[in-house]
């Protein structure tokens, strides 16, 4: 399993990288950690004329706080994010999702931006971004544009990124201190593709009623989906705990494939919806944050 022959470019700046993409458009593949593009190249599922390696562009490697937004550069390595105090404190959902991403050895190389760019339907980082209400920052030679995560993922491995664009950063709204988040998934073995993944963030008031709720699923449809759960705002959390799993399973059109039937995915959706809701509720009540 060897890739087809390709030209190799390793730009040092974003400007150089987008100039290359402008020149080559869909003939170029953008290589970051290589945890998804690498296998696809090796299996010749993709045959780009050129590979643009962005791993040595320093400007893509920072985690920064900008007001109420946390900006993670496209080439922040997953294990760096997992060790980051800022991520643990401000983005608990991402911190809870990261241990589910691949394995120790792949997280040491795989990047946040790479996972989003690849857009596997079952990937954890895209799901966390969608449920967080985050934004993908894209740059081309001509301009920069920001696409809400909910509009970025169009289908399995298909995104709103144009061939002359690269992801430069992800923007994550800061999580309020009184919010509780949870992430869980079921896969055939740990680190394998999720059959179903679920993510939840919520806040409750002093009476135990929901002030805020976001909930989403990965691996179920061809892209990560955040369900419209506004109907539960203001309701007692104990009632929502009963209603959310059934509501979630009714609101999806699950894939039916070799990994699992649509029926099984719907069943897992109910189980995981209950699990993440209860975990998030318990963390919101205890004001618990994951450890970096």
């Amino acid at each position: 399993m060897k890739p087809v022959a390709f030209d190799y470019h390793r730009p040092n700046t974003i400007a150089e990288a987008v100039a290359l993409l402008d020149d080559m458009k869909e003939e170029a593949g953008v290589l970051a950690g290589g945890m998804t593009l690498g296998p696809m190249l090796n299996m010749r599922l993709v045959r780009p004329r050129a590979v643009v390696d962005i791993t040595r562009i320093e400007a893509l490697r920072s985690i920064a706080i900008a007001g109420n937004t946390i900006v993670t550069g496209a080439c922040v390595v997953q294990s760096e994010a997992l060790r980051s105090d800022v991520v643990a404190r401000e983005l608990p959902l991402l911190a809870l999702a990261l241990p589910w991403v691949g394995h120790f050895q792949t997280r040491n190389r795989g990047t946040l931006g790479g996972s989003v760019a690849h857009a596997d339907p079952s990937a954890e980082i895209p799901l966390a971004l969608v449920v967080s209400g985050g934004t993908v920052v894209l740059r081309s030679r001509r301009r920069e544009r920001r696409v809400p995560a909910g509009e970025f993922f169009l289908g399995a491995l298909v995104t709103a990124r144009r061939p002359d664009e690269m992801i430069v950063a992800l923007e994550w709204p800061r999580t309020p201190a009184d919010a509780g988040c949870a992430f869980a998934e079921i896969a055939q073995r740990h680190g394998d593709f999720a059959i179903v993944a679920a993510a939840c963030c919520l806040r409750v008031d002093a009476d135990g009623c929901l002030q805020a709720l976001s909930f989403g699923l990965g691996g179920v449809e061809s892209r990560p989906v955040a369900l419209d759960v506004r109907r539960f705002i203001g309701k007692p959390a104990t009632d929502v705990a009963n209603d959310l799993p059934v509501f979630a399973a009714a609101g999806i059109t699950p894939m039916d494939d070799r990994a699992a039937s649509a029926e099984y995915r719907a069943a897992l959706t109910e189980v995981l919806a209950e699990r993440v809701f209860q975990d998030a509720l318990s963390r919101a009540t205890k004001r618990e944050r994951p450890a970096a």
Binding site: K2, F6, D7, G34, R49
Partner: protein, 166 residues
């Protein structure tokens, strides 16, 4: 400095392998795993699946356990790389290797080279691991002989020995 190589162009790559400066030729599409084996004769890098799943080709790059089959030799110019050949102490096997022998944590040994590299990084980051953490780290390696129980025991015992001696 930005780098541009044409397809098929063999370029000289220099890196630090197991404490020595080494160099060899690679065209852009050459996997790092193939470069280490065929150009630098580091045959301890085992090649299993070639798509990042099995863990046999795991090496330490700048101290971090990573797959060598899903990156390319042209990417790693100047990197500091350790393969299983570089893990032993000057006076013999390291504590993890000794524990693997004692617990019979290998049978055919094909997965072992990669696991030993992972463990070196893992124990540096997690000197007092719980069994669940060891198993989580091992999920990135496929072993078809042992059933993992002996590997887990060996790693836990080696961790305790390293803590005692440091």
């Amino acid at each position: 400095m930005s780098v541009h190589h044409k397809a098929g162009e063999r370029v000289r790559i220099t890196l630090n392998l197991n404490g020595q400066s080494r160099s060899g030729l690679a065209e852009p599409r050459m996997l790092l795993s193939d470069f280490l084996r065929h150009e630098l004769q580091a045959f301890g890098v085992h090649v299993g699946c070639e798509h990042g799943v099995c863990g046999a080709c795991t090496i330490l790059m700048n101290g971090c356990a990573v797959r060598s089959c899903t990156q390319y030799a042209v990417q790693v110019e100047g990197a500091d790389i350790t393969t299983v050949e570089g893990l032993a102490n000057p006076d013999g096997m390291n504590p993890v290797q000794r524990a693997f022998a004692k617990h019979q944590a290998l049978q055919c040994g094909f997965c072992t080279a990669g696991i030993l590299c992972s463990v070196a990084h893992f124990l540096r980051e997690t000197p007092s691991p719980k069994e669940a953490e060891v198993r989580d780290m091992l999920s990135g390696h496929i072993c078809r002989c042992t059933g993992y129980a002996a590997i887990v025991s060996a790693i836990l015992e080696a961790a305790a020995e390293i803590r005692r001696d440091s």
